[in-house]
């Protein structure tokens, strides 16, 4: 309060809405309610769900989806889709593994080359979308098929099988493993490094969105790109950057998968792009862009983790997983919608 000699008089018109309304108006609130309900549901029905070990296994499962989902969430807030985000995870791992195996070089070099390659794919996705004006849904659908085919085709050419060679004897395997797929134990509980990475990425994304200039731009290019451009926001750069963030996070998870299992199936990752999008939407991200936040996307991924493992803990036939997941997600979206409607109604008064 620096300048206020003349201010007190017209204050009457301006009010700060009560805390309850402000909380209800947050994008992630619907997902949070849904997550709590699902959590209690499995606590009641699945006895083995009720331990710290299984909680951290759920967190691990969530982190593998959640890391890329955060990027996809940012991209969706920025008004675009990336359907190639699922297979690029495997492209990253396969490229690293086969390059180093074929030429017999240090895995670190392969990891960096794979990173450069993934960033290039992200850049191309963004560049093509911005340059041609074709919806990102179509452009990245194209990239998705290209990568899916190339993953299988190149792997078959190099290894004569459909999985990448075992790389655990190549130099750099141990140090890369420490970075991307380490775990440690606290008592009986195994905590995977990827969970910590996930939390870090979520925190970074949340900070960027709410508290930085770039975050402001992401909301603006998703909400109204023409208007953003007119006030000087670099729309093209922002959107291309978002595509590259997604491909970077895809690469990161690809590294995790590769150094955890030391070999990858060339056909993997297909279908995961929808899990990312679902996590983002359940987390309150608007499908049309301009609205959402990183915490919500993280909760969305957590709901996925709970559901996929909860079924197993409950001892049900895992074949039901997809159907059950679908129901859970529909419910989550409905709760989301209901809460959103409640909150906007109250705010209209």
């Amino acid at each position: 309060m620096t300048q206020t000699v003349d201010a007190p008089a017209p204050v009457a018109g301006r009010v700060r809405p009560p805390l309850a309304n402000r909380v209800l108006a947050r994008p992630e609130i619907g997902a949070l309610v849904a997550a709590i309900i699902i959590f209690i549901f499995f606590l009641v029905l699945a006895p083995s769900f009720r331990s710290a070990e299984s909680f951290f296994t759920v967190l691990y499962q969530s982190s593998v989806i959640g890391i890329v989902a955060v990027g996809v969430g940012l991209l969706m807030i920025g008004g675009e889709f990336d359907l190639s985000a699922g297979v690029i995870v495997y492209t990253a791992g396969l490229a690293n593994a086969m390059f180093c195996w074929y030429f017999g070089i240090n895995l670190w070099i392969g990891a960096l080359l794979s990173l450069a390659f993934c960033l290039l794919i992200g850049f191309l996705n963004g560049f093509l979308v911005m340059r041609t004006g074709i919806p990102s849904f179509l452009i990245t659908l194209g990239t998705f098929f290209v990568l899916q085919g190339a993953n299988l085709g190149v792997t078959k050419l190099v290894t004569k099988t459909v999985s990448s060679p075992d790389i655990s004897q190549i130099a750099g395997y141990d140090s890369l493993g420490k970075v991307f797929s380490s775990s440690f134990k606290i008592g009986p509980v195994t905590i995977w490094g990827s969970v910590i990475w996930w939390i870090l990425f979520v925190a970074l994304a949340a900070w960027t969105l709410q508290r930085t200039r770039v975050g402001n731009w992401i909301f603006a290019v998703g909400g109204n790109p023409d208007s953003a451009r007119a006030v000087g926001v670099p729309v093209v750069r922002t959107k291309i950057g978002l595509f590259m963030v997604v491909s970077f996070l895809g690469w990161f998870v690809g590294m995790h998968q590769l150094y955890r299992f030391n070999t990858l199936q060339a056909g993997g990752g297909v279908g995961n792009e929808f899990l990312y999008i679902i996590a983002a939407v359940v987390g309150g991200t608007l499908l049309t862009g301009g609205y959402g936040n990183a915490i919500g996307v993280a909760i969305g991924a957590f709901i996925f983790g709970m559901t996929s493992l909860g079924i197993i803990y409950a001892g049900w036939d895992p074949n039901w997983f997809k159907a059950f997941l679908g129901v859970m997600l529909l419910l989550a979206v409905l709760v989301n919608l209901y809460v959103k409607r409640m909150s906007t109604m109250r705010r209209a008064d």
Binding site: Q3, R211, N216, F219, A220, G223, N224, A230, G232
Partner: protein
Amino acid sequence: MTDTLAEHADSHLQKGEPLIEMADVGKSYGAIRALRGINLLVNAGEVTCVLGDNGAGKSTLIKIMSGLHPHNEGVVKVDGSPVTFGSPREALGHGIATVYQDLAVVGLMEVWRNFFLGSELTAGKYPLAGLKVKEMREIADTELRKMGIVVKDINQPIGTLSGGQRQCVAIARAVYFGARVLILDEPTAALGVKQSGVVLKYVAAARDAGLGVVFITHNPHHAYMVGDHFVILKLGRTALDKTRNEVGLDELTTQMAGGDELTELSHELGRQ
């Protein structure tokens, strides 16, 4: 509120000093010539009204001035030196700000975020530098209040404001960030009588503060209330170019309604 506008306006602006000069400017999109032979002068402290029917070339003219599309014939001078803008950012750098009718603001974003969009206050230059949220909220709040725009809550999405208020926030923002030329694209087109009045008051206030205003409209009544200089475009060419002393509201209205074409048409239709 006039005082506040004057407070932020560039104090070096001399009334009548030419800010933008366009000489024989034209623009083609491929084989289509959208605009040709346009001579236009935007002076400080004056409102230049650009009128015209749909497809007359008004929006092309704005796009050239605001940096969305570069012109490809003639010369555009800003402050006496020729320019060709590659992006809206460059135009903004020269103090030329544009407020568009339907895309002035990002509806889902908070009022204060909109106010500072593209000119955010940050704690440093590095990419993850924190926004000075509290400061930005306070400035947006104080500025809007001083300019007589009553917003219930500075954190509400700007889409919840009325159309007139949104236009006013956009104008206030442009002036606050040091615009010297204000281009208003049909600011009153979608508004009711009362809200149009509010916007027109801001147009007049910006003019009195010494800014050069380009007011694009197809409503001659609104134009005549604030305009100093009138240009009517027809099929990409200038159909009328007169100052306030040389033209009356009747002539403007007739010209806008179709002018000679209309007379011809009524002959053809033959009803007395």
